[in-house]
Symmetry: C2
Subunit: 314 residues, 2 copies
């Protein structure tokens, strides 16, 4: 059984090389002036399917195929957006079927993207409980393998390729800022950077309603399963158990909470100054940097996705 | 007196080297599929001040300074947007004063950008006639040198650096698509590419209301001085006299007219697929390529600017 480890992360990186982009790192003088430091934007909104999710999805599918000898029968997941697109794309690359449980109210644009990658969609109600149930039923019915959105070993190992690229592209980095939702990307970055370059601080940035720190410390969670935030990619309240373990080890003291207004302002800055049309979730990391009083000298800010409706205005 | 020539264009390129960006060329698989060819996007929306205008503005200011021995007294222009920002920025780089005549209804965001580059603004009414009058009055009063938005030798020679980069970055190019307003960029591209690589077709793309072809052929112009188009950077009806001469020589047979709907669709494609937040004018060139029946194999599409209000939706 594959585990989450630096060794497996390195293997994953080799496995997916050439299948995903090595995304560029850009700078923007106007934002450097505003932040009072040199901000290195890691552009994962320019990744295949428009988000970092393709890294983990393609690694997970390739690992499943290997496990099964040649090809697995199919993959199944649940997703309101980017993970569903990424998994559908990854399955299409490997020529295996993919089924995604989506919310009834998932935007048509996102459903169309999944269908464009030949995924079959099944529809659930609009709560996390309902979509997880639909997903479990579908999985049992089809006999496909599961690739969960964040709490998945193959996914987390694949996402770490983003951190590996950052260490090569910005060797002078002294901090990395990453948004947290279910925790797949953030835990991969925290662990990989924490082990390979412990001198670099990894800041985990959350919308303030998430309250990750008390959860890591006391394990208590509110009753609801999502939070209300403009950052629609990270509305899930709970981080995955695999991710939680990593955060407890590496990130207890480096969590930053940002307000909705701070996210909106950071998004407006990215749109107007860098001309990059990222999604709201991608602005959370910059909001975290801007909030920090003592700015690092060479912060890396991960722009995690660019899938945003045409009509959206910050 | 400096003229418009390939030799002066080469000199301009050396003069402004290191002062403006060599902007990247990007591709997008999704758009390649839709266009049925390999589209090379030249990203001048990532140029200093967010548009190609900085190329010509800085060259014009540097030439004026040289002419005057060391420094000119100041520069003056009229502009509803990008040229004003570019000239203000260029003047600030050279530490000389800049005055821009703007429309009373120029968006505050654009006025703020010019003020941010230390320009002095003077306000006119909202027609081209009124702004040109205000500009002439201001020029006489201050004794500053004029740097007109498009009908200026230094500006056109400076803009040609965009074409020179394209020829180096995409040697396999067989066509270039560029939007036309006053004609500064389009004429620079048409002439430079026409002389250096006559095997490459340069397509001049206009909003259909412009009617450039009959104007070049018969010299007739409608009464109004602007056209009604979503592409706010190219609302001026008439091309500059210097530009007209170049178009007559190089571009009479390669003008493409696109509808407003075609511009909107191209803009939506660029936003959602490339994740580049360009301004509406920058989508005109792609609209031209998409309209062309026989697609070139390696078209270069110039994304000319990225200065668009936050609230704008295609």
């Amino acid at each position: 059984m594959v585990e989450i480890s630096i060794d497996e992360m390195e293997k994953a990186r080799k496995r997916i090389e050439g299948k995903v982009h090595r995304t560029p790192v850009i700078q923007c003088e106007a934002i450097n002036k505003i932040a009072g430091t040199t901000v290195h934007f890691k552009c994962d909104h320019l990744q295949k399917t428009g988000s970092f999710k393709s890294r983990g999805a393609i690694n997970a599918v390739l690992c499943l195929n290997k496990e099964k000898g040649d090809k697995c029968k199919g993959v199944v997941t649940y997703s309101g957006g980017n993970h569903g697109q990424a998994l559908a794309w990854a399955a299409l690359q490997c020529d295996i079927p993919c089924c995604v449980a989506v919310f009834s109210n998932t935007p048509q644009l996102k459903k169309d993207a999944m269908i464009g990658y030949k995924a079959e969609l099944v529809y659930s109600g609009n709560t996390l409980g309902e979509i997880e149930l639909k997903y479990q039923e579908t999985k049992a019915e089809l006999g496909y393998d599961a690739v969960e959105p964040f709490n998945d070993v193959g996914v987390i190992n694949g996402h770490a390729s983003c951190a590996a690229e950052i260490l090569e592209q910005v060797p002078e980095a002294d901090a990395v800022f990453v948004a947290v939702g279910g925790g797949g990307l953030a835990s991969a970055i925290a662990m990989y950077v924490g082990e390979k370059r412990p001198d670099i601080k990894v800041y985990i940035v959350e919308p303030e309603a998430k309250q990750l720190k008390p959860y890591l410390e006391e394990g208590n969670l509110p009753d609801h399963d999502t939070i209300n935030t403009i950052a629609d990619g990270i509305r899930v309240l709970k981080v995955g158990d695999l991710c939680k373990e990593i955060f407890c080890k590496y990130s207890k003291e480096t969590i930053i909470s940002v307000t909705e207004d701070e996210i909106r302002k950071a998004l407006a800055l990215i749109w107007t100054r860098t001309k990059q049309r990222v999604e709201p979730t991608a602005a959370v990391s910059l909001a975290g940097l801007l909030k920090l009083e003592d700015k690092p000298k060479n912060p890396v800010v991960i722009l995690c996705g660019g899938n945003v409706d045409l009509s959206f205005v910050p």
